[in-house]
C-alpha cells in the first residue's frame, strides 16, 4: 500500500506517494524528475545511484523509502552547480574524467564524503575509500587525478 513521504532533497521538501518498499532511487528519478542518480545494478554493487543521506553516501537503489525518514538527501545536482561547483566537480572538468559518464554519481558522492572527513589523504587512502565503486569505461586514472586535485583544493 502506498504511503505519503516527505523527502528533503537538495534543500527542498517534496511529497511523494509511494510504496514504502520502493527504493529511494525511483522516487528521485521518477516522482521528483531528477535525472541523476542512475540505475546501475539495483543490488548496491556499483554506485551509479549514490546520493548522500545526511552527508553519508548510500546506494539509493536498495534504500527503501521507509528507511529514509527525515534525513537530508543530497544528489550530485545538489552538491554543486556551475555557478558554485563542488571541488570534485571542478576537478572532474579540469581532468576531463568521464567517458560515458554514467558512473559519475558513485565516484563523486563517495569521494565528496570521504574528502570532507579526511583532509590530505594519501593516494592509498583515496583508493581504499573508493574501492568497490565501478567505472566500466576505465577512467580510473583520471578519477584518481581528479580526487587528488579536489583533495588539494579542499585541504
Amino acid at each position: 500500500m502506498s504511503q505519503k513521504f516527505i523527502l528533503n532533497v537538495n534543500g527542498k521538501a517534496h511529497t511523494v506517494d509511494a510504496d514504502p518498499d520502493m527504493p529511494l532511487l525511483y522516487a528521485l528519478r521518477n516522482d521528483l524528475g531528477l535525472n541523476n542518480p542512475h540505475f546501475g545494478c539495483g543490488v548496491a554493487q556499483c554506485g551509479a545511484c549514490a546520493v548522500h543521506l545526511d552527508g553519508r553516501p548510500i546506494n539509493s537503489c536498495v534504500t527503501p523509502l521507509s528507511a529514509v525518514g527525515n534525513a537530508k538527501i543530497t544528489t550530485l545536482a545538489g552538491l554543486g552547480t556551475p555557478e558554485k561547483p563542488h571541488p570534485l566537480q571542478t576537478a572532474y572538468i579540469e581532468e576531463q574524467v568521464p567517458q560515458c559518464g554514467y558512473c559519475i554519481n558513485g565516484w563523486i558522492m563517495t569521494a565528496a564524503a570521504f574528502l570532507r572527513d579526511n583532509k590530505k589523504p594519501s593516494e592509498a587512502e583515496i583508493k581504499e575509500a573508493l574501492s568497490g565503486v565501478k567505472c566500466r569505461c576505465g577512467t580510473h586514472i583520471s578519477i584518481l587525478k581528479a580526487v587528488k586535485r579536489a583533495a588539494a583544493m579542499m585541504g
Binding site: D19, G40, V43, P98, G101, R136
Partner: protein, 761 residues
C-alpha cells in the same frame, strides 16, 4: 529532467543553433525554424533529400554564421564530437566554437555506420572533412560571384570571406548562405555505413595549414555531465509513457507455456505482453513494473540444458565441428619447412567468453503515434536500429526515427539494440510509449558476448635459431552469431523469442602484425553456436572484436620463441619486423620505458614478491601500438598488479592529442580488467555471471599506477582509429611480464589469483 517531453521540445535544438534558421536550398527560398523542420522541409521538397550525395546532409550554415554538422556516427565517450567539430571547423575556417555536431539521429544524418570499429575519425571524420572542404569551396565561389572577384583570391577568416587584394570586398558565410541549405551534389560511392564516402570537388587543407586540428581542445559534454544537465537515454520521458521490464527463462532456450496474469492483478496498471517466447510486463510506475516482473508466475517449457559445463568449454571448442575455415595470410610453404626444422616451438592459448557489462543495463524508449515510430536509444548504430524496428514492427523505414542519446556505456554490440526492439514490441502491444530498462542480471547475463576461443601457434627454427616458418590458427565461436547491430530480427532477442532463428555469421580474425617470416600461415576456424536462438552465450562484437584474444596468443607466442632462443623480446621482434612505423612504436615504447635489454625470464625469480616487464605490439586497421607492461606478482596470493604501462601509439594524423591520451588510458584499464578479472561463467542451463560480484571488473585499488603514453603524430598521413587498437596488446604484455618475473607462462585468460597461484606452484 525530462527535456524530451514532447516533439515541440526539439526547439531546444534551435536554441543550440543560436536561434538561427536552417533553411532551404541555394536558389529556392523557404524559411524554416528548427532542425526538426528539416524533415518537413524535405517533405515539401524544399530541402534536398537526406541522402548521402547531398552536401546538406552533412553541413549547414545557420543564419548567425554558426555551422551545424550532421554526423551519422556518435561519440560513445571518447570525445569524438570534439574531434569532428575540429575537422569541420578547420576546413571551413570558422572558429571551433562555431560548430555544433548533431550525432546519430536518423532524421538529421545519413547512415555513416554508427560507432563502429574505431572508424569515428578514420571514416566518419574523413567524410565530414571532405564535406566541410566542399562547403568552403562552394561558399568561396558564391563569395567571388557576389563580390565580383576571383575565387582564387578569396581568403576566409572566421567565416568572413574577403578578396585578398581588396579587403573592402568582403562578405560572410552567414550572408552568403546562412539559414539556407546547400544544394550541392557530392560524388557518393553508393555505399552506406562505415564505407560511405561522398567527396565534392574540393581538396582538403594541407596539414601544414592546420590551426584547429591537432589542438588539445576540451570536451564540452563533461561539465553538463558533472552538473547533471545532460540526458542519458535512460532519462528521457514522454507523456503517457509506461515502464517495461522483460522476463527471461532460467534455462536458456525455454519458452513460457503458461503465464498466470492473475498473479500480478494487484499491481496497478500491470499488463503482460506475451508472444511465443517473448514475455514482458508494463506498468505505469517503474517500481510496479519491476514488482510485476518479479511476481509474475510463469511456467516454462522443459528443455535439455543447452550448454557444456564450463570446465569443458575449451575441449568443446577443440572437438566441435568446423563450420568455416579461412587462411587469411600465407606465404612460402609452411608444411614443408616445418619438416626441415631443427627445432619446433608450439603452444596453445585460451580466452573465455566476456561480457560488455556496461555500467548500466540497456534502456530504450519507443513511442508509436499516428503510424510513426520514434525510438530513443543508446545504440551504437541508430540507422540499423531504424531498419530493425521497421522490420520488427512491419512499418516502412521512413516511418521510423531513431534518436541516439548517450547510453550507460557502450563497447560494441551490447544489449542496447535488443532493448530497442523489445521496447518496440511492448509499445506496439500496449499502444503506449514504453520505456524499457533491462535488469543488471539481464545486462550482464544476456548481452551478446565476446566469443571464447582457442589459439594454436608453432614456429620452426633452424640450427641458428632463426624462425624459418610460423603458423598461427584460431578455433573459436564466430565473432558474429548476431551481427554488429540489431538491423534484422534474427540479430535480436525480440526476433529470436518470437520465433526467428539465429543466422549466425562466420568470421574470426588473424594477428595483425608485420613479422616477415619466410614461411607464414595465419588462419581461423569457427564452430557453431551453442544454441540456435535466444542464447545468453550468442557472440557479437565486444571492444576490438577478437583482437585481445588473438593478440594475447600471438604476442605471447612470439615472446615464447624469443625466450626459447635466449633473445631479448624487443631485439627478437625487431629481427623480423620490417614495417618502419611498427619498428618506430616498439622503439618509442622501449625508450620511454627505459627497457633493459636482456632475455626473459629475469634471473632472480624466487622471491615472494617479484616484478617483471613484457612487451607486446599490434596493428589495427592502419594504427599500430606497442605496449610495455610492468607487473608485480605476489606468489603467496597469486595476485597480480599491472602497475605501469608505457604505450607508444601511432594512428597517423592526430586530431586531438588530449582526447587521444584519455581514450588510450581507458583502453589500457579496460584491457587490464579483461585480462585479470573477466570471464563469463555458466552452467549447463544458463550464464551465471550476472552482476559485478559474479562478473568482477578491475577495481580502483588494482588500477595501474601509471599509464605513460607516447603519441607518434604523422600529420601527413590520414588519421586512423584509436578507440580500440590499444586494448589489443594489453593481455600479451601482461602475460609476457609475468613470464619475465616468474619464468612461468600463463596461457589462459583471465589471470585470476587462483589460476596464477596454481601456475606458480
Amino acid at each position: 529532467m525530462t527535456k524530451f517531453e514532447n516533439k515541440a521540445s526539439f526547439t531546444r535544438r534551435s536554441v543550440l543553433l543560436g536561434g538561427g534558421a536552417l533553411v532551404v536550398s541555394v536558389g529556392a527560398a523557404v524559411s524554416l525554424d528548427t532542425v526538426l523542420s528539416i524533415q518537413q522541409a524535405g517533405a515539401q521538397g524544399a530541402k534536398p533529400p537526406l541522402t548521402p550525395d547531398q552536401l546538406s546532409s552533412y553541413i549547414a550554415v545557420n543564419a548567425d554564421g554558426s555551422v551545424s554538422a550532421f554526423f551519422g556516427k556518435m561519440d560513445m565517450g571518447h570525445g569524438l564530437r570534439v574531434a569532428i567539430a575540429q575537422m569541420v571547423a578547420e576546413e571551413l575556417d570558422v572558429p571551433f566554437k562555431a560548430v555544433k555536431v548533431f550525432m546519430g539521429d536518423t532524421a538529421t544524418s545519413v547512415n555513416q555506420g554508427g560507432a563502429s570499429g574505431s572508424t569515428g575519425i578514420h571514416f566518419g571524420g574523413k567524410q565530414m572533412r571532405m564535406a566541410a572542404a566542399e562547403a568552403r569551396r562552394v561558399l568561396i565561389e558564391m563569395a567571388a560571384a557576389k563580390l565580383d572577384a576571383a575565387a582564387a583570391n578569396m581568403i576566409v577568416v572566421n567565416g568572413v570571406v574577403s578578396d585578398a587584394f581588396n579587403r573592402d570586398k568582403t562578405t560572410s558565410y552567414a550572408e552568403l548562405i546562412g539559414g539556407k541549405y546547400f544544394n550541392v551534389q557530392l560524388d557518393w560511392n553508393k555505399k552506406l555505413g562505415n564505407e560511405l564516402y561522398a567527396p565534392g570537388k574540393a581538396q582538403p587543407k594541407k596539414p601544414s595549414e592546420y590551426k584547429i586540428v591537432g589542438q588539445p581542445i576540451k570536451r564540452e559534454d563533461v561539465a553538463p555531465k558533472v552538473f547533471c544537465q545532460e540526458d542519458f537515454c535512460t532519462d528521457i520521458k514522454v507523456p503517457g509513457m509506461v515502464h517495461g521490464r522483460m522476463i527471461r527463462p532460467a534455462v536458456a532456450g525455454a519458452v513460457p507455456v503458461k503465464v498466470d496474469e492473475a498473479s500480478i492483478k494487484d499491481i496497478p496498471g500491470a499488463q503482460v505482453v506475451w508472444d511465443k517466447g517473448f514475455l514482458g510486463v508494463v506498468a505505469d510506475k517503474e517500481w510496479d513494473a519491476i514488482k510485476a516482473a518479479q511476481k509474475l508466475r510463469v511456467e516454462w517449457s522443459q528443455v535439455v540444458p543447452p550448454f557444456p559445463n564450463q570446465a569443458s568449454l575449451y575441449d568443446h571448442i577443440r572437438k566441435a565441428p568446423v563450420r568455416k575455415s579461412e587462411v587469411e595470410q600465407q606465404n612460402g610453404n609452411v608444411e614443408e619447412v616445418f619438416k626441415t626444422a631443427a627445432r619446433v616451438i608450439e603452444a596453445e592459448y585460451e580466452w573465455p567468453f566476456q561480457s560488455h557489462s556496461s555500467m548500466g543495463p540497456a534502456c530504450a524508449l519507443v513511442e508509436i503515434k499516428d503510424g510513426e515510430v520514434t525510438c530513443w536509444s543508446g545504440t551504437q548504430k541508430s540507422h540499423f536500429v531504424q531498419q530493425g524496428l521497421a522490420l520488427t514492427l512491419n512499418v516502412p523505414l521512413d516511418k521510423v526515427r531513431v534518436i541516439w542519446a548517450m547510453g550507460p556505456g557502450s563497447y560494441g554490440r551490447n544489449d542496447a539494440d535488443d532493448c530497442a526492439m523489445d521496447a518496440a514490441v511492448l509499445a506496439k502491444a500496449v499502444a503506449k510509449p514504453v520505456r524499457l530498462q533491462y535488469t543488471r542480471e539481464q545486462g550482464t547475463g544476456w548481452d551478446p558476448k565476446g566469443p571464447a576461443s582457442t589459439h594454436k601457434a608453432r614456429a620452426a627454427l633452424d640450427v641458428a635459431g632463426k624462425v624459418i616458418a610460423y603458423e598461427f590458427s584460431s578455433k573459436a565461436f564466430s565473432r558474429v552469431d548476431v551481427n554488429t547491430n540489431g538491423g534484422h530480427p534474427w540479430d535480436t532477442l525480440a526476433g529470436h523469442t518470437m520465433g526467428v532463428a539465429l543466422k549466425s555469421g562466420d568470421g574470426f580474425g588473424v594477428p595483425a602484425e608485420s613479422y616477415a617470416f619466410d614461411n607464414k600461415k595465419l588462419s581461423w576456424e569457427t564452430i557453431p553456436p551453442l544454441l540456435d536462438r535466444s542464447s545468453p552465450l550468442r557472440s557479437a562484437h565486444l571492444r576490438d572484436p577478437v583482437g585481445p584474444q588473438i593478440h594475447f596468443a600471438s604476442e605471447s607466442f612470439i615472446d615464447e620463441v624469443a625466450a626459447a632462443v635466449g633473445a631479448d623480446p624487443i631485439e627478437f621482434r625487431l629481427r623480423y619486423i620490417k614495417e618502419p612505423r611498427d619498428v618506430a612504436v616498439i622503439k618509442a615504447a622501449a625508450e620511454k620505458a627505459q627497457w633493459d635489454a636482456r632475455p626473459s625470464p629475469r634471473r632472480d625469480q624466487s622471491a615472494g614478491k617479484v616484478s617483471g616487464r613484457g612487451i607486446a605490439y599490434a596493428q589495427r586497421n592502419g594504427t599500430r601500438v606497442a605496449i610495455i607492461a610492468e607487473v608485480d606478482i605476489d606468489r603467496s596470493t597469486g595476485k597480480i598488479w599491472a602497475r605501469k604501462f608505457t604505450v607508444a601509439h601511432d594512428c597517423g594524423q592526430i586530431i586531438n592529442p588530449d582526447g587521444l591520451v584519455k581514450c588510450i588510458e581507458g583502453n589500457i584499464v579496460q584491457g587490464v580488467s579483461r585480462t585479470l578479472c573477466e570471464e563469463v561463467t555458466f552452467d549447463n542451463k544458463m550464464v551465471t555471471s550476472i552482476d559485478w560480484k559474479t562478473y568482477p571488473i578491475l577495481d580502483i585499488t588494482e588500477t595501474p599506477a601509471q599509464v605513460n603514453v607516447v603519441l607518434i603524430n604523422h600529420p601527413e598521413l590520414p588519421p586512423t582509429g584509436a578507440g580500440e587498437p590499444s586494448i589489443r596488446p594489453v593481455a600479451a604484455a601482461i602475460a609476457n611480464a609475468i613470464f619475465d618475473a616468474t619464468g612461468v607462462r600463463i596461457r589462459r585468460v583471465p589471470f585470476s589469483p587462483d589460476r596464477v597461484k596454481q601456475a606458480l606452484s
